[in-house]
Symmetry: C2
Subunit: 438 residues, 2 copies
């Protein structure tokens, strides 16, 4: 680095598109220039769209990916949390149905001495979002500024906020373009988008929960593994350790699917109750975070410490502190007008529960968004009474629908019911934690 | 068809991009809607760019291609030449170096009783354009309106004009986007672009000259064959017979490369002189046009009639009529300031002449355009004295450079000289007409 300002190199967008189209490599300097010139409005959307589609087909190698992620990361503010003592580790989930893990996990890990600076997202389509769930708590704010975020992390060890406008603006602009040009489903573009945002929030290490199955973005283990390894590779190139769990998302995680209903379930977990599958995923992810944070020597010890934070109530205490710090009042969690049982139409064993269909039924009830601009109803949702492997009698309750007193909930209830496959045989039940990658 | 206006179907651009990206088919209605909505400005450039790049990778099948071409054709004015008696047949060349065929071929075919309504293009990079060559003739106008074009066709049997703003506006808009997004080099997009313009000019049949080799857009025979077959398929779907010749473009065609120099060479041909290779290609293409026009029963007879039109001077007479009708004055063809010989640096046989390099050297002299907005100098160019297979002595003239009296022509002259490969052995000479496809 010299003190004199050098003119940045200027490349030809056409030449970059052409080379990537033909399977060639872009240099780090070219990628950095493209991302920053696009963000500055100096490259038109149509050339960026063509490059994104070429990347969709040709991919990015490890060096390109590192440069791409770094350029997006450096397009905005990068939080420096070094004045907060102790390790800072975050978790990212690729999104599923009933995935309220972050709500309990953040406080549990913080209670074990690892700071959790978490920038979370909103739901769209069949998947919910951590921010929407948190906002079901009356008064709770997720739009803290950077100063309040930092203060809360120092005081509580955990804060969950939305992406600020200052973080990775290049990713925000590129994501909007990908969303309009069918270039979202590209592993390098997904990986760099996630990593640029996560690395901007000031964490030193990251645990990934890559969901696999019908209710997840990644339908196949192979694809999920590639995505996990891609993100781990980016982390390595940035000097941030990343570990990943591949976890099953064929049926919803836990029993609650909605917003307030999921907050209640997360609190059940923190009280030592709650569904086993939710607890298993939370404990396993927490154990990895403690290992990465250096407060547990191995996964075994990590699990024990997370379990202890549940048993002692330390996790719950931390959760309550976090909610209070963000302005929330747990005594006023919204309730639906009615709770309607959804009944089985035949007897047998639950062989499958289509998580995507359950998510879409919840969305149709009002718990989720069809389009980004839709508003949501925090009170509505479903609570499953039966999960895969459970025996069921005709007329028995499959789940409870939390609904509003207004017409139009018959369709979603029917959709929820039809998400269940009931057969004569007791099904084999697959593993919940499919793979551990580090 | 009903008399009541039906609202046109509206599809989702996202969904079309997504499907094509994943290798699916678009319906004719979807393609028609996309092209017309894009032309009308209802679909943004970035979505069209993403679709074009997806088409680059996934292609278009025969039905999609027919719909794509038809939509571009029908986006603008389609000339109806039915009031002009007799057959109307045109020729299209994919572009090469020294390709002045159209200048002589149009008049020759017209002299044989087939009307030639030709909409031609301009040069870019190493390839010249028929319009630029014609405009080297002082006063000659290529921007005739449709009325004048029709009148001239009726009077002379041939007219060569530029694309009017009314013809295939969808192609014009899409081409500009392809040019900026590295999606030009896609066989279905090339084929539909050419065919939509050619079918709009009112010809009933078309002969293609698909150039193959180092100086051509298509470097390999296989690719050229695919392009030819693709255009023949489009013609079939539109009920217009199309035939193609694949012709070699490793060295420049004929000897002149420039504008006025090429007009002079085309006139030499019409006088019964001129280089053999140029004459062969012209006669072969003309023979095919006469067969398609139904005035010759076979290629053999077609050749004889074209040769006769050269020998009798009927072709030359027709050329002079065309030039006069378009306002041109042949007595004032521009001359360069100086003619400089370019000498061989060694003795041997000419084994190769890199046509692209010769084209780029001519462009650098001022005969061509680096960018679309550049102006050209009609007087400058090269005339080759040696072609592949010719023996050459050190210090002998390889070619004559027609240059301006100003500094800066050393580089182009050197480039021209270096385009020649001179070796000890007499090279084998490949065929000029590589393949005939119908």
């Amino acid at each position: 680095m010299t003190a004199t300002a050098e003119a940045p190199p200027v490349f030809s967008p056409y030449e970059l598109i052409h080379r990537k189209r033909d399977g060639g490599r872009l240099s780090p300097a070219e990628i950095e220039w493209f991302i920053s010139a696009y963000t500055a409005g100096e490259i038109p959307d149509y050339q960026a769209a063509a490059l994104l589609m070429a990347v969709f087909f040709r991919g990015l190698d490890a060096d390109e990916l590192a440069a791409w992620t770094r350029a997006m990361l450096e397009s905005g503010e990068v939080l420096d949390l070094s004045e907060i003592p102790g390790p800072k580790v975050d978790k990212h989930s690729t999104g599923g149905v009933g995935d309220k893990v972050s709500l309990a996990l953040g406080p549990l890990v913080a209670a074990c001495g690892v700071t959790v600076p978490m920038i979370a997202g909103r739901g769209l389509g069949h998947t919910g979002g951590t921010l929407d769930k948190l906002e079901a708590i009356p008064g709770l704010r997720v739009d803290l500024g950077v100063v309040a975020f930092r203060r809360q992390l120092a005081a509580c060890g955990v804060a969950i906020i939305g992406q600020t406008r200052e973080v990775a603006p290049a990713d925000r602009k590129l994501y909007a373009l990908r969303d309009a040009t069918a270039t979202v489903e590209s592993i390098p573009l997904i990986a760099s988008s996630i990593m640029s945002k996560k690395l901007a929030e000031g964490c030193e290490a990251l645990v990934l929960d890559v969901k696999v199955g019908k209710g997840a973005f990644m339908k196949k283990v192979d694809d999920a593994r590639v995505l996990a390894r891609t993100m781990i590779g980016i982390g390595r190139s940035m000097g941030r350790p990343v570990r990943a769990l591949l976890t099953a998302m064929d049926q919803p995680l836990g029993r609650a699917v909605g917003n307030a209903v999921e907050v209640r379930e997360a609190m059940d977990l923190l009280r030592g109750a709650g569904p086993t599958d939710l607890r298993t995923v939370t404990v396993e992810l927490g154990a990895e975070m403690l290992v990465l944070g250096g407060v547990a020597s191995g996964v075994e010890e990590g699990r024990a410490r997370i379990e202890a934070a549940i048993a002692s109530g330390a996790g719950m205490e931390c959760f309550e502190r976090m909610v209070r710090a963000q302005g929330g009042n747990l005594s006023g969690l919204p309730e639906a007008d009615r709770v309607v049982p959804v009944l089985a139409e035949r007897s047998g064993f639950v062989q499958a529960i289509d998580a995507e269909e359950v998510g879409l039924a919840a969305m149709a009830l009002g718990a989720g968004r069809r389009r980004k601009e839709d508003s949501i109803d925090p009170a509505v949702g479903f609570v499953l009474e039966k999960k895969i492997g459970d025996p069921v009698e005709r007329g028995e309750v499959l789940g409870l629908a939390h609904v509003r007193d207004r017409p139009g909930s018959e369709g979603p209830l029917r959709r929820f019911m039809q998400a269940f496959t009931i057969g004569d045989e007791a099904p084999g039940i697959g593993p919940l934690i499919l793979e551990r990658i580090s």
